[in-house]
């Protein structure tokens, strides 16, 4: 079922969209918990910062940046596709029944989303590790 080579980039994007969504939700919950330490005073905040401002913490944050950018860019593609943008004009279905919503433009957008995520991660690394 999760074989991107067999099912193409669309299935890969489908799984990546869900995995990044779950990852971002987990990060969001963690972020809410992390920022709540603000209420316990400066020492608690600094202790929490010390825990997150590590190499592992920065690697995690870089992954979050990548997940966020891919989820956003691919989400906009999905949204436009649902709205009928970039899926072409309706036509008679002829063999081999190529789905209109999985055309080359949408494939290109998936690759562009992955590329954008990679670029954002590189920028994130430069900000986080370039201190």
């Amino acid at each position: 079922m999760a074989n991107p080579g067999r099912y193409g980039i669309e299935r890969f994007a489908y799984w990546l969209m869900r995995i990044t969504g779950l990852g971002l939700l987990a990060y969001f919950i963690g972020h809410i918990y992390e920022t709540s330490s603000l209420l316990n005073g400066k020492d608690a905040w600094d202790a929490m910062l010390e825990m997150t401002q590590t190499t592992e913490g920065h690697v995690l944050l870089t992954l979050v940046i990548g997940m966020c950018v891919f989820h956003t860019a691919n989400g906009i593609r999905v949204m436009l596709g649902h709205g009928g943008v970039g899926v072409g004009k309706p036509s008679r279905p002829d063999y081999p029944y190529a789905p209109a919503s999985q055309n080359s433009m949408h494939k290109l957008c998936i690759y562009a989303s992955i590329g954008l995520a990679a670029l954002a991660m590189m920028y994130g690394i430069s900000v986080l590790f370039g201190e």
Binding site: L22, L25, I32, T35, L38, W45, L49, H82, L128
Partner: protein
């Protein structure tokens, strides 16, 4: 509620969150150095700036609604059934409410100087 309306809310919250999270991140990296912006006094000052606190509350609500509805959609794709769907829907609503309440508590108390 009809699923088509829920999906419109899902897309609306996504677009709103993208715009506001962009501002939130820009605050971290453009106003001052990233590390400096995370200092206790600077973070507290951000919370006590009321327009920023309102923006944080909006982000909290938008992302909670979007995130837990996304989780609901994923769980409903995996398995179907009347009682299962009901449990997933109410579970996600409850989790969303708890997260919004917990996050709002931080925003309210920090912005009112109770930190």
């Amino acid at each position: 509620m009809r699923e088509s309306i829920i999906m419109k809310i899902h897309y609306g919250t996504a677009l709103g969150a993208v715009a506001l999270v962009a501002v939130h991140i820009l605050f971290r990296i453009t106003m001052m150095d990233y590390t400096e912006s995370l200092q206790y006094e600077n973070v507290l000052a951000n919370y006590q700036f009321i327009p920023y606190a309102i923006m944080l509350e909006l982000i909290l609500v938008l992302l909670s609604v979007h995130g837990f509805n996304g989780l609901r959609v994923i769980l409903l794709e995996l398995k179907q059934g009347r009682s299962y769907e009901r449990a997933v829907t109410y579970g996600c609503i409850a989790a969303m409410a708890v997260l919004i309440a917990y996050g709002s508590r931080t925003i309210l108390m920090a912005s009112m100087g109770m930190a």
